[in-house]
């Protein structure tokens, strides 16, 4: 494995973390921070963790493409926006649930910690997907197959597309893009209004992390390009952008990173 397993360093780190029994914040509190992700092997699927101010937090486990929270990447830092849970620790980490993870675009070679499996950290539950072939369904089949929320089938309709921090369209967006396309075709759309927002995150250390200044515009323009590229060329397009960074409070700030697509029938 190209990535080094820094056993000694990690052993020291874990020892320190175990010694710190108290978690400063209480369940239900938001916790937003940037850190290197850490992957810990288990007897089944790997866990993803991150350290912040001397505490280890559990982010998620590996499952499959249908997962609502997907693991971060070694080689990159991750923005963690979570809520402290009262659940027992998983893989040695305090559970953040719900949690939103943004892989930051720039590479960071220092994010390379892989922890070997230790029996005391093995999962105490059956993961939705083993680290290999499934039992014949995606891990979150039921969730992904759930019908979309009730929506008008004839009038104008808004679609909200969420993004990773500083992110553009990625693998998780094909589904919502298809919904927009299908609706626009179904109602013979005459106008599509696309508003891209630039967001920000109030971190738990008091700092505010702003997205790239042009990201709202780029998101909106990319959405228009993708819909046109899918042969949705007959509606008129109105593309605009807006700065929403002032809304960052430290709670649910991930909602500020978005594009709203309004499909208006002809």
């Amino acid at each position: 494995m190209a990535t080094r397993i820094i056993r000694r360093r990690v052993a020291l780190l874990v020892a320190c973390l175990v010694a710190r029994s108290a978690v400063a914040a209480a369940a239900g509190d938001s916790l937003n921070f940037v850190s290197c992700p850490i992957v810990r092997d288990t007897a089944s699927v790997p866990c993803w963790l991150a350290e912040y101010e001397g505490e280890l937090y559990f982010l998620t486990i590996q499952s499959d493409v249908s997962a609502p929270v997907t693991p971060p990447w070694l080689g990159h830092r991750v923005l963690v926006e979570g809520v402290l849970s009262a659940e027992p620790r998983i893989c040695g980490g305090v559970v953040l649930k719900p949690v939103h993870l943004s892989v930051l675009p720039e590479q960071d070679a220092s994010c390379n910690v892989m922890l070997p499996a230790e029996s005391k950290y093995n999962l105490t539950f059956e993961p939705p997907r083993p680290p290999g072939p499934s039992a014949g369904r995606l891990a979150f089949d039921a969730a992904s197959a759930a019908p979309p929320s009730p929506a008008p089938t004839t009038g104008p309709r808004d679609f909200v597309i969420s993004y990773d921090f500083d992110g553009l369209v990625g693998f998780s967006h094909a589904r919502v893009l298809t919904e927009i396309l299908d609706y626009a075709r179904a109602v013979n759309a005459g106008e599509i209004v696309i508003t891209g927002y630039r967001g920000a995150v109030r971190l738990s250390n008091g700092q505010t992390m702003m997205e790239d200044e042009a990201i709202g515009k780029r998101r909106a323009e990319q959405l228009a390009m993708l819909l046109r590229g899918a042969n949705l060329t007959s509606p008129s397009y109105s593309v605009r952008s807006q700065d929403d960074t002032a809304r960052a409070t430290g709670i649910n700030d991930y909602l500020t990173r978005r594009v709203v697509v309004t499909v208006r029938p002809r």
Partner: protein, 501 residues
Amino acid sequence: MLMIGGLGAQSGPMTSWWAPGQGTPLPAFASYGNEHGAAGLFNASGVIETKGHPFFEAIGTNGRACVTCHQPSDAMALSVQSIRARWAATRGQDPLFAAVDGMNCPGLPADEAQSHSLLLERGLFRIALPWPPQRADGTPIDPEFTIEVVRDPTGCNTDPIYGLHSATPTISVFRRPRPVANTKYTTHQNFGVGPFVGKNGMPAATDPDTGRPTSMNLMADARASTLAVQARDAAKNHLQVAGALTAAQVDGIVAFEKQVYAAQVESATAGSLVEPDGPPAFGPRNLAAGEAGVLGNNTTRYVFPMAGKWTTLPRTSSSDANARNAARESIARGHDVFMFRTFWIKDSMHLNTVGLGNPAKRTCSTCHGMHMTGMDTANGWMDIGSTNLPWASEVPLNPWTTAKAQMPLFRVTCKPNVAPHPFLGRVIYTQDPGRALISGLCNDVGTIVMEQFRGLSARAPYFSNGSASSLRELVDFYDRRYAIGFSEGEKQDLVNFLSSL
């Protein structure tokens, strides 16, 4: 060549090379010997009359037919062994060696083997692609990256007529021909096919005749959305057809390609792979009967279903039977390595970026998950490092060798207004930018559409750039790339399994 049993089968020796205009019927079923046993070819529509057939006739201006590079004996692809044999038999005069792409660059001395070194040594044809990339309608794409030629052993990328800085800027990459068989799997309309590519949200290529999204699993870079588009592309660029194919010619080619199936049927050590009570993974008839475009990375369907066969076989007093049974058990173990042996998959674009995390602890069948073929079900381009440095095979340079690099090398620089490639950064060195030469996307640099696993024994070498000369080298590449640590036994079992497909 062996020709055995089955409806419409022929018997008796034939030359294994199928020449354009040969005119003999292609049997409904035929098998052809290869290093690991024999591969079978099954025409689901029966005997194919090749006389006058657009797939088998030299319909271009250079004497080639489609069959030139898609030989029945080579699982409808082309092995480097066949290429070399053809060079020897014709002293390089076969249309196979046409200057347009059978030469390192047009204009070199045609009768010198060195002019065709990439074809003769690695089975590679020159693929000339416009720069900047173009959409299907010919309009240019503004690429996310710039590209420079770092190394040009063929001379073609710096050539004043054919090169990057010519009047018609062109990038030449060198790739293996793919099998034109089992195409219901490569062109399915099933799982994963939608208007937007599941890996990156980009619009999927559509069928120009129907407007429907396609699976984008044809060719190394998915530049052809359908078999018909591919046929027209190949006719123009490889057969040098004057004008365009007629509708009847396209229909004839596509109709043939839709019904022909190829897979190994005989193992040199394990005997017949297609006995009635054998594993249902094997042989072209099982491919013809299989369900296309469905996930097999599960224990309910399997990528290559073995149905529990050959796991433990009896030993008898017959040493031949024991050897055969041992070989069959090795194949079954190889299947289990393929399906269940976990390792850390790291820094692979369009795998680690699609929700599994980086690294992901998974198995071969994670990526090679399509039932019966081991392809990705849809939009199957990925970067495993076969063309991108630091993983691509490179000639070691030192004062004690005269070996020289064979492949071109490009420096790709992602523009400042786009995010860097997540695993390779802003500057990438590659032998072949792959899908990025079509999409113009930085994240697609070096991504190659994965190939089907069928008929492998008939068509070495492997990978799009022919960098693995044998199945063992292919397995060794993965072992190095992902630090898997396969045991010698696991490697041999995997080779035996792959050679049986």
